[in-house]
């Protein structure tokens, strides 16, 4: 081990990469036990190193808690001129940047990742392709860590695409199931849209700043050459945000996440709840310097976040698939994070990211345990009364639900209230009314969140059991390897928020201060000063709202279970609208797939263009050109080059005919020549001595 863990930062991604290589190369020959130990070991190793890094970082003074390690130069220097007219050197190192933000992220990723790996051992025990699963998982860990640790946009993009790939592979893990492979493709394609935006953002960044490394960008920003709301920066941030919506499932690109639930539950927990989907948030937070200079984008981000939160929460109300519900709740929570970012409260966003990672992973794993217990059943209408059957799962699940509902003093409470308070308090120049509307929406979303989470809890674990008899008799608690991570995550969901107790509650809000150097704002945020009393009041209000929602869920789904039917009966339109997720998928399908203009029309037009212009004119034309040139060269080769060679050969052939006549290779021919020679020789003597004399 090196003296400082900071030097060993490269090990953090390297270990999972090693694991992935081993799995995908020789995994098929290893026994499940070895595979489990190997993969979990790699992740645990990275986790330990991450802890060490975190400690070393804390050891440093707050101002220079930034450490950049260049592994190798990826692209050599290419000089060019930026839009700003100043010379730049396009050079990209493959480097790792360690600062409070990335250190927090790697801690969350490796920690939760490790727990989920352990959980997977039990969950995937009876599945085929064990090594494949863990190989993908390790590969994902590597990509995610690359994304988080990268010191520039391009390597980040590599990780970004890598996690997309792994998500695709893992969603379609059971690729024999058509819905699974379709879901995988959907996720991939939808993400492409966002990634296109991301790429455009990167290009713009290059042409604008002449560099992609975050430190470089920040330096450029610090040199104050960019006015507030400069169009270039707005464009960049917009494009990057499009990418973020893709990866983090925000309107309008959230549609892939619910389908992604086709993958194994641990995957949903790790990739589609805890880590990958938060990549967008992380990216926005990472680029906060730019976003702070683009108020318009900030407004858009906040609005999109809030809308997504409300939207997804409303959809989650009526879903019956346990994982779908959690998926929509994930989307809405992501909305919260973006809202925070949009309101300039990046620290709050990241805070919510980490806490959300705990309790959402907990919830997913709990649902996984339930599904595991019910041998694959996902419909909550076929559950109920499981509290006694699955004690550990039930308790931990309830803890998770309380956490996400924002009940004091669980993790969700602090992070969510941080978000809400920032939304209420921060003034980033969106205008007062806009801010308050966003706050209202967020509040209402919180109510909905508490409601549907506890609908889920009550319907699943309490009330009468609706479990079909054949599955009922072998309902069993999950194995230790699954329950232990659940407990650990439950503890985390309780205490996870205590690192960020706001000042109003006498806490030092250490989390925010820790992240502060990263989010040192280059522009003066009009952070309106408010009294602590107001903040506390809002907290109490939100908690009350949550409690009310929980009571409402209890009333609806335990006491008078007929009420939901009545509501459905009363407002069929609304229910159908929600139940069908606002027909968004259908609309997309109609517009972008079947649609005459953007769908089929565009497709056919593009196809025809491809066929006519590119194929026939371009490719075939080139081919024709090549053919004719090659004909020419063939002629040349045949008549000039070969002609020369052949004529030379013919010359030799013609010149050596005497040798050919003499050397037939037949021994008797040689003997004949010999005899002839003797005859002639004797003839000479005949004419000399006999005829002559």
């Amino acid at each position: 081990m090196p003296a400082s863990f900071l030097d060993a930062v490269w090990l953090v991604p390297a270990l999972p990469l090693l694991g992935a290589f081993l799995m995908l190369l020789i995994g098929s020959r290893l026994s499940n036990k070895i595979i489990s130990w190997l993969c979990c070991g790699t992740i645990f190793g990275s986790f330990l190193i991450a802890l060490g890094i975190f400690r070393d970082l804390l050891g440093l003074p707050a101002t220079d808690r930034i450490y950049e390690k260049i592994i190798f130069t990826w692209f050599p220097a290419i000089p060019y001129i930026t839009d700003g007219g100043n010379a730049a050197n396009f050079q990209i190192e493959w480097g790792y940047l360690v600062d409070p933000l990335s250190s927090v992220m790697i801690l969350v990723v490796t920690g939760v990742g490790f727990l989920i790996h352990v959980y997977s051992i039990g969950y995937m025990a009876h599945e085929g392709g064990y090594y494949r699963y863990f190989g993908y998982l390790n590969l994902f860990m590597f990509m995610m860590l690359t994304l988080v640790l990268s010191n520039n946009l391009l390597t980040m993009f590599v990780g970004w695409e890598g996690v997309g790939l792994c998500s695709y592979l893992l969603i379609g893990f059971w690729f024999l199931k058509k819905s699974a492979s379709d879901a995988g493709k959907k996720a991939f394609i939808v993400n492409r849209v966002g990634d296109a935006g991301f790429l455009l953002g990167i290009f713009l960044t290059i042409t604008t700043f002449g560099t992609l490394s975050f430190t470089g960008i920040n330096a450029a920003l610090a040199s104050d050459t960019f006015a507030m709301g400069a169009p270039a920066i707005t464009a960049i941030t917009m494009f990057l945000f499009i990418g973020a919506t893709g990866k983090s499932a925000q309107i309008p690109l959230y549609v892939w996440l619910p389908d992604a639930m086709e993958g194994p539950t641990p995957v949903s927990a790790l990739i589609h709840a805890a880590t990958m989907v938060t990549a967008g948030v992380y990216m926005v937070a990472r680029m906060n310097g730019l976003y702070q200079l683009a108020p318009t984008t900030m407004a858009v981000v906040a609005a999109v976040g809030a809308l997504t939160a409300l939207f997804a929460a409303s959809m989650a109300l009526v879903q019956n698939d346990i994982k779908k519900i959690l998926a929509y709740s994930t989307i809405s929570q992501l909305g919260y994070m973006f809202l925070a970012c949009g309101m300039g409260a990046f620290a709050a966003g990241i805070f919510h990211v980490s806490t959300h990672a705990y309790f959402k992973a907990l919830l997913f794993l709990g649902s996984g345990a339930v599904i595991h217990a019910l041998s694959g059943e996902q419909d909550i209408r076929k559950m109920g009364g499981l509290w006694s059957k699955l004690p550990v799962t039930g308790k931990t699940f309830v803890i998770g639900a309380l956490a996400i509902a924002g009940i004091f003093p669980l993790a969700g409470f602090f992070s969510k209230d941080e978000v809400l308070w920032r939304t209420f308090a921060n003034d980033v120049g969106h205008g007062d009314l806009f801010t308050k509307i966003l706050w209202g929406v967020a509040m209402f979303t919180a109510l909905l969140t508490a409601f549907y989470m506890f609908r889920l809890v009550f319907v699943t674990f309490f009330g009468v059991s609706r479990v079909p008899r054949e599955t009922a008799h072998h309902v069993h608690e999950a194995p230790r390897s699954m329950t232990v991570p659940l407990m650990i995550l439950a503890v985390l969901s309780v205490v996870g928020g205590w690192v960020g107790i706001p000042a109003a509650l006498g806490g030092g809000n250490r989390f925010e201060h820790f992240l502060a150097p990263v989010f040192a704002s280059h522009v003066e945020l009009g952070a309106a000063e408010h009294a602590h009393s107001l903040e506390i009041g809002l907290m109490v209000f939100s908690v009350g709202v949550a409690v009310f929602a929980i009571w409402l869920a209890y009333y609806f789904y335990i006491r008078h279970t007929e009420i939901p039917e009545q509501i459905v009966y009363r407002l069929p339109g609304v229910h159908r609208l929600l139940y069908n997720k606002y027909y968004v998928d259908e609309i997309y399908d109609a517009v972008f797939v079947e649609g005459p203009v953007l769908g089929k029309g565009l497709a056919t037009a593009l196809g025809r263009f491809d066929l006519k212009v590119i194929d026939e004119t371009g490719v075939d034309g080139t081919a024709w050109l090549t053919r004719s040139i090659s004909r020419l060269s063939i002629w040349w080769d045949t008549w000039i080059v070969d002609g020369a060679v052949n004529s030379l050969g013919w010359l030799v052939w013609a010149l050596n005919w005497p040798a050919r006549v003499l050397q037939t290779g037949m021994v008797q021919r040689y003997a004949l020549w010999m005899a002839t020679g003797i005859v002639l020789f004797l003839l000479y003597y005949v004419q000399r001595y006999i005829l002559g004399s």
């Binding site: 008797q668 021919r669 004949l672 005899a675 002839t676 005859v679 004797l682 003839l683 006999i690």
Partner: protein, 167 residues
């Protein structure tokens, strides 16, 4: 015409005819038999020429050794195909012509030389006792060629074994 001369001409005739048959027979076995006949008569001619040792060696080495080897080889290589093939190659006419010219030249020389090669000047017993004389000559004046010949035989034996070995 003495018994001696009669035997000589008979033997010569036999030798010549069977030699011609050697090169005209299609079947190698027959050729071998006629060759044996030729060698035998030549051996007897040696006997007439007071060369008993040479006669014996001729019979032992040629007939007892080389011809047996020939027959062995003939039986190893199946010759029923060879029998059906054309016996002569394409150059037979010109070759025969050349050979006949050669014969004519020989005849001319021998005819010209018949006078001095008429009667054997040496006494009939000049080379007697044959074996002892040969032995002395071989081991005294011709010892080196003798050793070289033995070496040649050794090399030939090794080479033959090496080539005929089943590989």
């Amino acid at each position: 015409m003495t018994f001696y001369e009669v035997t000589f001409y008979v033997l010569a005739l036999v030798a010549l005819l069977s030699a011609i048959l050697v090169i005209t027979c299609r079947n190698p076995v027959h050729s071998a038999i006629f060759l044996v006949l030729t060698l035998l008569s030549v051996a007897l001619i040696f006997l007439q020429l007071q060369a008993e040792f040479m006669a014996a060696v001729q019979i032992i080495v040629y007939i007892g050794g080389i011809m047996v080897l020939f027959l062995f080889v003939i039986m190893l290589v199946n010759l029923d195909v060879a029998v059906r093939q054309a016996p002569y190659n394409r150059q037979r006419w010109i070759a025969g012509f050349a050979a006949l010219v050669l014969l004519a030249e020989f005849a001319l020389f021998i005819y010209r030389g018949r006078d001095w090669a008429k009667l054997p000047p040496a006494a009939a017993e000049a080379v007697q006792p044959n074996t002892e004389l040969i032995g002395r000559a071989l081991f005294q004046s011709y010892i080196l060629p003798f050793e070289v010949a033995s070496l040649l035989l050794l090399v030939a034996m090794v080479g033959a074994v090496l080539m005929a070995k089943q590989r």
